[in-house]
Every structure is written in structure tokens, then in C-alpha cells.
Symmetry: C2
Subunit: 302 residues, 2 copies
Amino acid sequence: MRTSLDCYPCFVRQALDAARQVSDDPAVHARVLRGVCEFCAELDLSHSPPAIGQQVHRIVRELSGSSDPYAHVKQQFNRLGMSLRDRLRPRLDEADDPFDAALRLAIAGNSIDFGARSDLTEEDTTALTNQAFTRPLHGHTAALKRAVADAGRILFLADNTGEIALDMLLLEKLPLDRTTVAVRGRPIINDATLEDAREVGLTELVPVIDNGSDAPGTLLEDCSPEFVEAFHTADLVISKGQGNYESLSGHGRRNIYYLLIPKCKLVVGRLSCPLGSFVVRSGDEDESLTPQGAIHEDSRTH
Amino acid sequence: MRTSLDCYPCFVRQALDAARQVSDDPAVHARVLRGVCEFCAELDLSHSPPAIGQQVHRIVRELSGSSDPYAHVKQQFNRLGMSLRDRLRPRLDEADDPFDAALRLAIAGNSIDFGARSDLTEEDTTALTNQAFTRPLHGHTAALKRAVADAGRILFLADNTGEIALDMLLLEKLPLDRTTVAVRGRPIINDATLEDAREVGLTELVPVIDNGSDAPGTLLEDCSPEFVEAFHTADLVISKGQGNYESLSGHGRRNIYYLLIPKCKLVVGRLSCPLGSFVVRSGDEDESLTPQGAIHEDSRTH
């Protein structure tokens, strides 16, 4: 998915949010913002939003002097995710369809995305996970369930901190001896890395690899050879979040399922689902909807 | 009021919106956006948002090749404003307090602001004017009414096209022999100029001057000497909209009333009124609330 001109204001806003995570000094905020505006003046729209986001956040880290601007947020939401996971696990056993219930909680966890909004509170996250069982789900749980049953090797692409703790509820419903989870290679926004996977206990449940990249998505050309091999040899890929969707959809990978909450009008337009909704989308379905595998930079949904 | 770093994403978004008003060509949109990002990388935050907006929209006009990107929107909403004005005027005579009712409709008209949102529809505007009589009003109608009764010369600073037609309902309740209306000197976003004042019949009701400026607000240093004299010699200034508020508040002018719908979190924070609410604010009150007459660039309302 190509970057749209509509992404520019969002990159600028993200940069300011990230700078404010690092420092209270307006001079630091201004320096970061100016650096990102300079970069935006030259940017190449043929890349996907996560590829541009990767560059933007490298500038943020360089000009703010912080290697991990969201470090404290990541710890905070990992703790919250673990607490929600432990509190909600018993409800799965009572559910009519425990797989569907676990899927919903994993998608609810995708709301913990500080790239989309930096004013997210613990209360927001708790409220959304509590609503998860009753919200409409756009997509086909049954198809994903069949794909899981049929698959040999499953690769699960994680997205954010906190979210990975709720993902564990879904992972517990998968064949764990055939499943690997992949996280980001280095800190980027509040995305989960190996350190986070260890923190929430994910590494004790299932093998976890990192993808070698600091993009807020999955840019195969930027990932480690080990990850790329795992991606291509998996029978089924389960991909969490908008960043992974933006970077992987339309690239022709078969048997990939995207689980996400769409957070901007461009992705909403592409998925034909409401902003903030719970989405399960098969990659095959996505390819057939957008045969060129790219939206144009002038696409407008308003 | 100084420009905040939070204004950056908004300037970038405004530039894209304006470029799309002019052309369907993504190359034009990209050219405009890159030019504005380059400008933002260098901008001086000591100026008010309308002073920066003036520069941003000059870049938009230059790089898009259009001297008036919102020309068609302006005509469309002038027509709508006249139709609403004529339809709603009889309801004023039935109102318990016709001045208060007229004030509410004039403020409702301030929603016609394509700087704040470019997807505004005629239906949105119609719906809001219909709600005008029953929405909460933040401020003191009675104080404004007294100020009007006490004033010799009144200067009314208009804001947007369409809105000026609804302003006429309020102007009809003022002493017209002592009142002058001022509009922008040249096209800027969808703000009203002399041409618009003629189009909606405002010039037949009351003397209308232009301020000589193409800023989306009132930058006294950029206005014509005639306007500046009218501003300083008026006993009472009634100022419409956020742009006039951002450029004039905190500059020590006494006996000025701001009528507006706040449209961003910075102005909401300063006014302590909800986003999208109907506000009547005395300048004296504003000065006492913010003694330094400026918010800092690191102020955050989220």
C-alpha cells in the first residue's frame, strides 16, 4: 500500500507526539518537528506508510536523543495487558465459542497503538476489552479457524506492547507446537520487541523471533533473512495491526489473515469497514478487492 | 496568541485540503504539500496561527496556480447562508429574546469554516443552524447587549462566506447607523471579501470596508491604515470566528467581544469551552484569564 498525501499531517503529528514522550522541552519538540517537516518535503510516496514511518521515527530518535521514546508507555501497557489477560482468561472458557472470544480480545488489544493516538489511557483500553465480546466483528472467524486447522507452520506477526499479552489468549487456542510469533527487531513507537515478549511471558508460551527491523510494520526488504524465510515457509500467516496490513497487503502472499482495528480513513476506505471496528480480513479477499495492490496517492475517502 | 507546535499538522492538512479544491491532479497536491512542509521546517512560532496561515495559503495559491482555491465553495455557501437567513428570520420575531436568537444564528454560521474542515456539507450547516436556538451558549448575551446599547461606533469583524448572510440577522438588531462591517482584503480560504458582502446583500444593509489583508484573521500590522483607524476608533468591536480571536486576543484591546465556535483543542483550552460549542467571550474577560496574552508553544490540552 503506497503512502498517501493524507499521511503527511499524520506523520507530523506522530513526530510531535513522540518528541513529547521524550522531553518537556519545547526546543526539543520544535527541533524534531522541523526535522520531520524537512524530510516530508522530500519524501517518496511510492513507499508504504510503515516505510515512511520508519524514517520519521528514526529522525525523532536522532533529534530527540532518545533510542526508545515510548519505553515507559510500553512497560505501562505491558503490565495492563497482562492484568487484562489474566482477568479475562476465565471468561473464554465460559464463552460459546472460545476461539471467537479469544480472537476478539486479541483484536481489542490492537487499540493499544500510540502511533494512532498518544492520549490513549488505561481506562480506554480496559473499556474496549470489556466490550470486545459484544462488538460487531467484520470478517470470518470460521474461515480463520479452518485455516488454522489446515495449516502446518503458522507465523503470527505481533504488533504492539500490551496487545501481545492479549494475543496470548488467542495463541493458546492455536497449535503451539507449529506456531512462531514474530516481533519488531528494534524499538519503534510502542511496538513490541523481544524484550516485551519476555516481559509478558510470551516467550514461555511459544517460540518468538524478531524480524530484524525497526519499521512499524513488516517491510520484507528490511527484515532479517531468518524472518523472511519464516514468512515465506509458513503455511499460514496471522498478521496483527494496521502497520503490518499496510506493508504486506497487496504483495501477493496467499493464506494470510489480517486482524486489526483500522485507525485512519485510508485503511477504512480500503477495508470498507468503520473506523475503530474489529476486522478479520483474509489476504485473498484483500487481493481480489484491490487488484492493483495499491491505492493511489489521490484517493480520498471524505 | 502564538502558534503552537500542534498547529503544524493542521497547516499541512489545510494545505492538502486547499490543493484538492483547486485540482484533481495528485502532482499538484504533492507540489503544494512539499512546499508547505519546506516552509513549516523553517517557521517562526512567535507569530499567531493566522499569520502563519496567511503564509501557508500564499504558498498554496502560488504552487497550485489558483488565486482563490475556495471560489466555488464560497459561492455555494453564500447561497446557502442567504436561504437559511431568509427562512429563519421569521423565527426571530417569535423568539422570547430576538437579540439572543440572532446572536445564536450568527454563531452557528461560524461553523462554515473550510480551514477547520473541508468536508463540511450544506446538510451539516443546516442542521447546526436548526439546533442554534436550543444549544448551550457559553457567555453572556446580556453583557454584549449592554455594550451594544452603550457604544457609539461599532466595528463588526466578519469571518466566513455564508456566515456573513446569517450575521445580517444579528446586524439587523444593532444600531445600523453606528455600525461598520469589515471583511478580508483578498481571498483566503473561504473567508468573506467585499465581493461576498455584495453577493449576500450585506453592503445594502450597512457600510462594509475591507481590511486590506489576506490573513485568515486580523493582523493589524498587515491591515490597511483605514481599517486600523476604524479598529482603534470603534467604541465596541464584535469579532467573529477563531482566526480573528487567535490574532486579536491578548493584544489589550478593550471592549471587544468574540463570537465563535472553537475548532481546535488549543483554542478550546484557552476558552475553557467545549470543542464546537457556541461562545460569546468578552475581551476583558479573556485578558484577565490569560494575563500574558499568549499561550506557550508547549501548552498541551490532551
